[in-house]
């Protein structure tokens, strides 16, 4: 049986100038020098005209904050309704849907018959930020926020979030709520 030898075209045919190396080396150096000249001018421009004129796209992170896209899945948070109470009704769907089972809920009932979570614990050491809890929630009570800072701790016990530390007012999450409505209710399977 003949071995099928495939000749790989590595695209190494070079022109005479390319084989001489030096002309293209000089060209590369010219590109580098041009960039540095433009960037140096940009540097002076930045000093004179402020950061809006900046050419270098590096973000000075702790001083400048990146713009988080609305579809970003950060720390999951509970929505606090406008009247100050949790939107959560302690149905337990998120608890069931959570792949690493990091959510545990103890439900209770208010005087007016509303159900609410007596305790809502989210284990930050186990959460994988999949967003299933948000997708499964019938009351839009848990959403993935754009928070990504302060999620790491030296002590595991500090990463277990209780209900009070998870509650966030609804108006701060409006952008994400709009996004998930758009996302989940415009898809074919929900129609």
């Amino acid at each position: 049986m003949a071995i099928n030898i495939k000749k790989v075209d590595r695209n190494v045919t070079m022109t005479f100038l390319e084989r001489m190396y030096i002309p293209y080396m000089l060209h590369g150096m010219w590109v580098a020098v041009r960039h540095s000249a433009v960037n140096m001018l940009g540097f002076f421009e930045e000093i004179l005209a402020g950061k809006s004129k900046r050419r270098v796209m590096t973000l000075f992170y702790p001083e400048e904050y990146p713009e988080i896209p609305p579809a970003y899945r950060g720390k999951p948070v509970l929505v606090r309704r406008d009247d100050g109470l949790e939107a959560c009704v302690a149905c337990g769907l998120c608890e069931a849907a959570c792949p690493p089972s990091c959510i545990s809920i103890i439900g209770g009932e208010r005087d007016n018959g509303e159900r609410f979570p007596v305790s809502y614990t989210l284990d930050g050491t186990r959460c994988i930020y999949c967003g299933f809890c948000e997708e499964v929630c019938p009351k839009e009570a848990i959403v993935m926020s754009d928070r990504f800072q302060g999620l790491c701790e030296y002590d595991r016990s500090k990463m277990i979030y209780d209900k009070e530390s998870l509650l966030v007012p609804r108006r701060e999450l409006q952008r994400r709520l709009d996004t998930i409505r758009n996302k989940y209710f415009s898809e074919e399977r929900y129609r």
Partner: protein, 374 residues
């Protein structure tokens, strides 16, 4: 008191003091100024070239001085680092190797003139530490010693990557030593001298500069110089992506710094050679030293005028040095690394025959009078 004055007026003592001042100047220039500045330039210039920001965080009380303090911070960090010698390493040689790498790089500067000859207050000042008649031979002899530092470092570390780096370095440095020597032969024929002071003195006329008549040799010499310094694109001995850090993988703390500064000082000294051989040393094009001395002597008096001319000469030398260093840095951040066989092929099959051709052409040119010797 009188004995002290008599001692100071003793010409030998004066010469000793002048030589010490010159040595101090060279130490300050290379270790004190160029090594930290080049570390900064390497970070910042590469950043600016590649549309990045570069190191700008280290600061004292919020003053960051565009990242200049990073060199200082590095120095502090590395001084306090543990000086680690790996198990199975040859302790003595492992300790000796960094010194063997730094010293040749520094000692080469002894014969490189960083200024001209001046007469100040009846004292002849020649701005070179040792005016050797065989200056060029000395340079090549000493710079081949630098290979030992690298090879010993690679061998004594008891590490595969180090050994490979040392092997590569030895082969590369030996082959480029040969080619580098040959590129300079044409210049020796042209200037009829091995002394760098003589060569610089003969470049007073701009049309006798090495780069005018020996431009191909200049290019070849620069290529060899970059290869000799083991910098990108010839950094196979310390190739980060292949050999971790090559021959100094197993070094930490101040020993690591010594290899690091050795690289920068080698760069400076080889650029100094280049300036002395090809770019006319301290001479300004179309301005002779005599003209400067008379012009400034009228203003400042003969002695202070001489001092000013001396400072101008040193300034011109350093300016040329900086231009060459920036050129080398730009090459370093533009080129990708050559493969090892490509380095060898370039050294033996391209630069060596080309330099031999150039020697032949220079010989023909001098014999037929096409190339007027100074």
């Amino acid at each position: 008191m009188e004995t002290v004055i008599a001692l100071i007026k003793n010409p030998m003592v004066i010469e000793f003091i002048v030589t010490m001042v010159k040595i101090g100047f060279i130490f300050g220039l290379t270790i004190g100024f160029f090594a930290p500045m080049l570390a900064w330039v390497e970070r910042k210039q590469s950043a600016v070239m590649q549309d990045r920001v570069g190191a700008n965080r280290a600061g004292v009380f919020g003053f960051t001085v565009i990242g200049l303090l990073h060199s200082l911070a590095d120095a502090i960090k590395l001084i306090f680092k543990e000086d680690f010698i790996p198990r199975g390493a040859e302790r003595g040689l492992h300790t000796l190797a960094p010194a063997l790498a730094v010293i040749p790089a520094l000692v080469v500067f002894a014969v490189i003139p960083f200024g001209g000859q001046y007469t100040l207050w009846g004292l002849d000042v020649n701005l070179v530490i040792a005016d050797l008649d065989v200056g060029l031979l000395y340079v090549f002899a000493i710079s081949s010693l630098a290979t030992y530092g690298v090879v010993i470092a690679g061998w004594s570390s008891n590490n595969n990557w180090s050994l490979l780096g040392g092997l590569r370095a030895s082969a590369q440095m030996f082959s480029y030593e040969v080619t580098m020597g040959l590129t300079v032969i044409g210049l020796i024929m042209y200037y009829q001298s091995l002394s760098l002071v003589d060569i610089v003195a003969k470049q007073e006329n701009f049309w006798h500069w090495g780069i005018i008549w020996h431009f191909p040799a200049f290019v070849l010499f620069l290529a060899c110089a970059v290869a000799e310094n083991k910098r990108v694109p010839f950094d196979a001995p310390e190739a980060e992506s292949e050999l971790v850090a090559g021959y100094f993988t197993e070094y930490s703390g101040m020993k690591f710094v010594m290899f690091w500064t050795a690289e920068f000082i080698e760069m400076v000294s080889i650029s100094g050679m280049c300036v002395a051989l090809f770019l006319g040393g301290h001479h300004i094009p179309f301005l002779t030293q005599k003209f400067l001395l008379t012009a400034l002597g009228d203003i400042f008096g003969p002695d202070w005028g001489g001092v000013v001319v001396m400072l101008i000469g040193v300034g011109v030398f350093i300016t040329k040095l900086v231009i060459l260093l920036v050129l080398q840095m730009t090459i370093r951040w533009t080129m990708p690394r050559f493969r090892y066989d490509q380095i060898m092929k370039l050294g033996w099959k391209m630069i060596l025959p080309l330099s031999l051709c150039w020697i032949f052409l220079v010989g023909v040119g001098i014999l037929t009078g096409v190339m007027p010797t100074p």
